[in-house]
Symmetry: C4
Subunit: 380 residues, 4 copies
């Protein structure tokens, strides 16, 4: 044999790692979990995903009240239909077999530009932070309408976004121009690699969404072969952010987006370097979510290559219970904020940036039944 195969880089997902407690510990009350994006201050570092099954006007307002930010998807139901409620109803009532076909029909309706401003205004009227998302192809046309209407944050989001895709076509989106044109923070994603993060940041944008096909069972992995487990993606992108900060003095936050299900996943995201987390599925299960206990992604209605499907996830808790507890569950699915505070206390991290230095180990989780462990309370 002439040549050895080189080992591929090992990638880590949430279930592959564990956080190690720190040398000092803190009472959870001493922990500061606030974060901010170019002036947009968040009391809690949680964002709700730009998915139709998660965010409507009301949810955006409630999420703002809770201290976070919800992003409304401006390429879906809210920009295509004056009244979204009957659409949600129809989706909820359609049997599983017919759901994908229905989705493909619903999302083939044209976008009505005038609805963009209306949604922004309604959120602002309700006292919410108006964060809205566009795919790259519609950003140039629609993002200015959102800004005019008073949007606080613009999100440019596709499955995989790079700086140089846009420069290839004549009508491509040039991020640096967009940033110059808009007077609000611009978040861009998704990406998972060092070089792309640095290129994006050099365009002047204000935040990067991290995550491409992150879940172990993500259909992007099955359909396209593409996907990077979230812990590895976050560690790599955080390295780019830190290097960019060192080189320029400008700190551009990154948001771990995708695959987060539990408090443990949230904590590991921050230990990997995240400045905020973006969550979909758990929010879709709140009573405040618009889709009546259903959940689907933006790739579900793809006309020729759908990925993911409409899932019935049920309605499990209020938004406040999900975020702040008290929890009646012991599997980490509730009281995400409380879990983050306790975890940071065990790590000894006073701020999210200190949490970036938490030690982690490669410790794959093996699901076993019927185990119980002694966990005497920390100072309680």
């Amino acid at each position: 044999m002439a040549r050895e195969l080189k080992d591929l880089q090992q990638a880590y997902g949430f279930d592959d790692v564990a956080i190690v407690p720190g040398d000092i510990t803190l009472n959870p009350e001493l922990v500061d979990i606030s974060t901010s994006f170019d002036g947009i201050k968040m009391d809690i570092p949680f964002m709700a995903s730009a998915m139709d099954s998660v965010v409507d006007t009301n949810f955006a307002i409630e999420m703002s009240k809770a201290g976070g930010v919800a992003v409304m998807n401006m390429d879906g139901i809210h920009s295509r239909y004056d009244d979204p409620e009957p659409i949600y109803q129809e989706i909820a009532e359609t049997p599983r077999e017919a759901a994908t076909a229905l989705m493909q029909k619903i999302y083939s309706q044209p976008v009505k530009p005038e609805l963009v401003g209306k949604r922004v205004e309604d959120i602002k009227k309700g006292g919410g932070t108006a964060a809205v998302s566009f795919v790259p192809a519609s950003t140039k046309r629609l993002a200015p309408l959102a800004e005019e209407a008073g949007a606080d944050v613009i999100v440019v989001q596709g499955t995989v976004v790079t700086v140089r895709h846009n420069s290839r076509s004549l009508e491509g989106l040039i991020l640096s121009k967009l940033v110059d044109q808009l007077n609000v923070p611009v978040l861009v994603g998704n990406t998972v690699t060092y070089d792309v993060v640095k290129e994006m940041m050099s365009q002047g944008i204000h935040g990067v969404l991290v995550g491409v096909g992150p879940g172990a069972a993500c259909t992007s992995r099955e359909v396209l072969g593409i996907g990077v487990p979230q812990v590895s993606a976050t560690i790599e992108c955080a390295a780019a952010r830190d290097d960019y900060f060192e080189e320029t003095g400008r700190y551009v936050p990154i948001i771990t987006d995708g695959g987060i299900r539990t408090g443990g996943d949230v904590c590991k995201s921050f230990a990997s370097g995240a400045d905020a987390v973006m969550i979909g599925s758990p929010f879709a299960k709140t009573a405040e979510a618009p889709a009546h206990g259903n959940h689907w992604g933006m790739a579900t209605p793809h006309p020729s290559l759908p990925r993911g499907t409409r899932l019935s996830v049920g309605t499990h808790y209020s938004l406040n219970q999900l975020l702040f507890g008290p929890s009646s569950k012991t599997d980490g699915t509730e009281n995400l904020v409380g879990a983050l505070r306790v975890s940071m206390g065990y790590v000894g991290a006073e701020t999210l940036r200190e949490m970036h230095n938490a030690r982690m180990m490669h410790a794959p989780a093996i699901k076993t039944e019927g185990k119980i462990y002694q966990m005497a309370g920390l100072g309680s």
Copy 2:
């Protein structure tokens, strides 16, 4: 303890790796997925396996129309029976318990040399590319008959083929002689190792089939202990191809053959270095396949050491739907060509050769239920 055990080289299968998106991205329309073998141009880099359950005359013609190449097995039903249809019928109607015995009987009938030319002519008459396969032992006698009848491609194929096996017996097949004698491209396989690929190429052959017991559950692994996961096999053989090209200036394509089930597997094959993929099982499920929803391999009828069995795989889609969609499935089993285009777009690969440079990570897939992820469409 005196001596440490050395670590064995880590091998990767499709489910063990994931592709990382690139620094630039492309719209899928900009991607060129054509490939060629010594003058045989293919619009799509897909070959259908030389298996009786996949390729008959009609399937070969339809596959050619779709832009690919189907290889007809000349050591099976088509060279032993004037009329294959009743044989397929009998196999389909036989209960599972009796299937292996029936197979052993069917494949014990003698080959009729005159049928070789007839099959080639029929495929040509239908406008198809006539690609036919022989095991090494029958190649010298039968391959010339195929060439005379107008065959476009000759495939010499066994479970494991090397250059030097054949030189050991008096009547052994000498690949260099075969290549000199025939005026059509000769593809040879299967193999999985660097040295054998280079030795084969130095004989003048025009393509190498890569894959020995590739699947995690392959019975070659259980019966013989032999098998190499496909990603590792392809990476190693691609290294041999690249080195051979550098040394000689002749580029000899390799075809990843075996274990491919999804679009993701196809994409990972090219990211590992494949110039084309050869697929069996998914094609056996097309309406155009001859075996009425059944599938078996060439080792199934082995008289004393059968590996694999006749499986009822069902009929799921048309050939065109499998290759080009639109897909109604979200598990990667349909629209394989569309998946390859989108994946190459995310990687930023304009050609298959650029796709060879895609970054991959070791990211084992863990099957989980009920997950959904946000996958906003790329420019759509």
Copy 3:
């Protein structure tokens, strides 16, 4: 790509490793398994966890007779209720759905300081070693009461305990002061890291409990993301103990606490460097345990972030049968002392300290059914 992600340190749990037999072997009778903590001699290196479902007065006495030590939890039922029996009864009779709420209510009752001394006296009266545990917050107030009543060992225990947590708040617990104040051995935990172990030992304490969220399925992993598999935790803490011993001449034992289910787990704990093991669940299944076949941890009744739940584990054996056999089971769940002796014999370790040098390999257990292996008896 500019920067490679660094590999995370690999962590090992019990199921990930196997012990390798030694160069010499011993008959089990020749093996010495005694251990001691600053004068407290134990014939067998087994401690029972400070869990209400494991240790009451009677169990503590029986465990002492068996040669080990049971730790009574002084932040639970025994320090809140004059008569614990009706509480155990109520917990046993409550249906699963209502169990967590009941727990939260039961544990919200105030601690009665006078009960601390009473429990100690009762254990002493029965001839037992009186070992009692407190969470850090209640130690300063209650531990002296236990010592006055004649306690033999004081355990300060929380999910994660560090030396420097306590120094942050005005009324914090200062371990060195506590040790000076009390005239009995003080054990502290839990921790899993080198630095914390050395800091603790430098405070003068007499033993360290090792283990944070050790089990693969531990809910601390899911809720907080925190947890270190026990083999790795023990190896790391044992390294700290050995270095501290080398630097100071004082040998401070460590106790592997959590996740132990079988004789194999016990043996691996010692091979990893433990001086004793602390076990909960297997003891909860003894006829001597107070909770009528139920089991729960101290984090179960947490008011806002409960982890773990009340499990019905059943009553399987007497304490003596669990520890000394004879066993009728072949899965390692009985005759833990016998298993340790035989295993040390195969390793050739005459003492527990020699067992620390046993060679281990990374050999993940894969559960398979229906296998049987020849295991001719050693000298029998």
Copy 4:
């Protein structure tokens, strides 16, 4: 953090590795699979385990006719009962729950020394190779009786055997003396480590049995924490054999013993360095085996720490079908000799010693259903 944990050595079992085909290939007929132990020639390198459920007089004779060697256990039924058949009957008829207790009773009967010679004579009378095994404690007393009666091979076997265990007690077995005293080959085991193998060989013994708790699910792992996966054990012991051969010029074969279920496992044993394999469970399933489709190990009747249990494995095939086929199964459980020949052909190994050089990869098997792969026959 002061000190990094060191990585444990990775251990490999049969399911963790795969053999890579060689640079040349051979027709299976050209392969020589004979082996020998100090003059005892074996046409096939297969030994039957010294287990009561596998070998009685008749089986030993039939195994010899097939070209291998069966070892009769002289610490079990055959040396305790004049007529073993009613004992086998009783074991077969006892319900599962009562089986272990019955075993403990049956094996508590005393050994009758006169039966040792009788069994040897009966095997010889039938034309078989008489190979008999003793635990170390009974070897000194009983082995000479076997030799006097004409035994061809003496096996000294315990779960873990070392040279230096025996020298510790006054009446201990000294291997070098035993070898001097007996005029037949002496095989000793089991062991799994380099140093012990070399020490044993330096005592003059003629073969080493390799394997301690080899299976992933072996109860030695659960009960004692001890066990080494077979591929790693064989690689390490083969290194000792090769070094000993280089140093002394004496080649002492090693036998991989335990955990072998399929042809693939057999092939991997030789690729790891084995000179022969010892198999239990598959032989217990032959019509020639004495236990009516039942199977148990020598540790099953242990009076206080039983490991393994009586399994009903069924009767599946004749001994000849198991060894030589033809096979009707495709899972590797039949035609073990044929599988070895074909596998060696693919590797290009003409002899077992050449098979030791086969390349292997770390390629964990993942069981998946419903896959089929093309495996065109090699020259057939």
